[in-house]
């Protein structure tokens, strides 16, 4: 396949396909199956290892996602912060720490689901595909941090303009076509995950109000006699 067509497919057609799938199908699913908007918690079925998997994963992935959003929407703030090497190093070490936290949590989630019989029974093929995609996304993200630093700066200078060119319906792939293969892989996988999002349990992110982070402790337990 011609390289330029391949790049056009991966960095123009695929992003639009993913973004439109995301917007149309999330709305459609909410209208057609409102009660399926759930994280489908399995805390009920296993409560010993749950904490050590879910908490590191969620806090890790939240910080990393917010970091990406800040770089997309206010890139100059990142470049301003990084204008001193010490601050650049602090930001990159923090991002790596939260990336590793996400990875540790995600590996914990996968092991817990694979090794606990009654959770394995309620884990669908869609869940397994999602876990595989997230795992590849997080591993490639951590690998990029180690092999191609300093991502916080070059993301703001090269990837933010590319993403805005997509949002503004004037795609400019010259920002990404010469990026290392690992970076391209991460971008393509991120768009695939966005497109797959409406068909997975990830839709729970969109449920508003979303008080998971600050609500009072909530007990999930069997009714009556402990099972």
């Amino acid at each position: 396949m011609d390289k330029s067509f391949f790049d056009q497919f991966l960095f123009v057609i695929l992003p639009y396909l993913s973004l439109f799938t995301f917007f149309l199908m999330t709305v459609y699913r909410y209208r057609a199956q409102s009660f399926s908007y759930s994280s489908l918690s399995s805390q009920f079925l296993e409560n010993e290892h749950h904490f050590w998997a879910v908490v590191p994963f969620h806090y890790g992935v939240l910080v990393i996602t917010v970091g990406h959003l800040v770089a997309i929407f206010i890139p100059r703030s990142i470049l301003l912060w990084n204008s001193h090497p010490l601050r650049l190093y602090i930001l990159e070490i923090s991002a790596l720490a939260f990336g590793l936290l996400t990875l540790i949590g995600l590996v914990g989630i996968v092991i817990r689901r694979a090794t606990t019989t009654r959770i394995r029974k309620v884990t669908s093929p869609t869940d397994w595909i999602l876990f595989a995609m997230l795992l590849a996304l997080v591993v490639s993200g951590v690998a990029m941090a180690l092999l191609h630093p300093w991502g916080s700066s070059w993301f703001a200078s090269n990837l933010t303009p590319y993403l805005w060119s997509i949002f503004k319906l004037n795609p400019d792939i010259t920002y990404v076509t010469s990026m290392p293969a690992l970076v391209k892989f991460h971008i393509v996988l991120a768009f695939l995950t966005v497109g797959f999002f409406p068909f997975t349990r990830l839709v729970h992110i969109l449920v508003i109000p979303n008080p998971y982070l600050w609500r009072k402790p909530q007990v999930v337990r069997w009714y009556g006699k402990k099972q």
Binding site: Y28, Q33, V55, R76, A97, P149, N158, L169, P171
Partner: protein
């Protein structure tokens, strides 16, 4: 999934596919690039028109020196023409310190237009592609210091571009080193004096309009000023005389260990924060309820 729901899903998926492809095709249509813009983006870093040679020869009146058919053949695949033993191609290759001109994307379709542009610009007294005016005053310590500050980012670039440390290292970059977006092009300690950056004028023009794909994209809307280029060249020239290569492996290990330490601290913090919530609140509640259930 019930049949009506399946049909609705199918319809939504089809609509998504059609709309996405339509948007991608409409949005993806190449915006016609002006020939002058093409020259600026792809040729200007190595050639002037009437400003003297840089990494490549001055193109003023090039159409009078060689015929158009030869020039277009050369532009399409410079290496093939040079390696074929062509006498004139060999001469300009040797004059350019044996650096091969890259075959540029899109040059085949716009060869004639480019030659028309060069011909028209050659007739002008002052071509817009005369090149960056480069001062020949000796570099000072102040220039070198400013160049290092620009490299590290402590002196922000006027047009808002990212600092060099985002993707590059130097011999005196602090502890964790510089970035490595493209590892083989990361260490710039000895960049000044390489054949394609052979002198102050060639390197200054290269920095003013960097042709490498990632830098071209990053600096297209954030060009360096003449003062910034001057200071950076002073810093690079000085480093090439006394610099030693950076130590990327040590820096990478230190970075990894710092990240791991951070992750471990975070996990212990979660345990400390939620110990009360999980052990002191939930367990007694569940146990008490289980007891009541008997």
């Amino acid at each position: 999934m019930s049949p009506p729901l399946f049909r609705r899903c199918e319809a939504a998926a089809t609509l998504t596919l059609v709309v996405s492809l339509l948007v991608a095709v409409v949005a993806g249509e190449a915006v016609a690039q002006d020939t002058a813009d093409y020259f600026r983006a792809n040729c200007k870093a190595c050639h002037t028109i009437g400003g003297g040679p840089l990494s490549g020869p001055d193109l003023k009146d090039v159409t009078e020196r060689k015929d158009r058919e030869w020039l277009i053949r050369f532009m399409r695949d410079p290496k093939a023409v040079i390696d074929s033993g062509d006498e004139y191609a060999q001469k300009i290759w040797k004059d350019s310190r044996e650096v091969y001109m890259p075959a540029l994307p899109g040059v085949a379709e716009r060869g004639e237009e480019l030659l028309n542009l060069i011909e028209a610009e050659s007739k002008l007294e002052q071509s817009q592609f005369k090149g960056l005016p480069v001062s020949d005053r000796p570099f000072t310590d102040e220039d070198r210091k400013k160049g290092r500050q620009i490299f590290l980012g402590t002196q922000r670039l006027e047009a808002g571009g990212a600092a060099c440390i985002s993707c590059h290292s130097m011999h005196d970059t602090p502890t964790l080193g510089g970035g490595r977006l493209v590892p083989e092009k990361s260490d710039l300690t000895q960049v000044f004096g390489q054949p394609e950056h052979r002198d102050r004028k060639a390197f200054s023009n290269w920095l003013a309009d960097p042709p490498s794909p990632n830098m071209k994209a990053a600096f297209r809307d954030h060009r360096l000023t003449a003062d910034e280029v001057h200071a950076l060249v002073a810093y690079f020239e000085d480093a090439s005389k006394r610099g030693t290569a950076a130590q990327p492996v040590v820096a990478r290990i230190a970075f990894l260990l710092s990240g791991l330490a951070g992750a471990v601290v975070l996990i212990f913090s979660f345990d400390a924060i939620w110990k009360r919530r999980f052990h002191a609140v939930r367990r007694p509640l569940v146990d008490a309820n289980a007891t009541r259930g008997h």
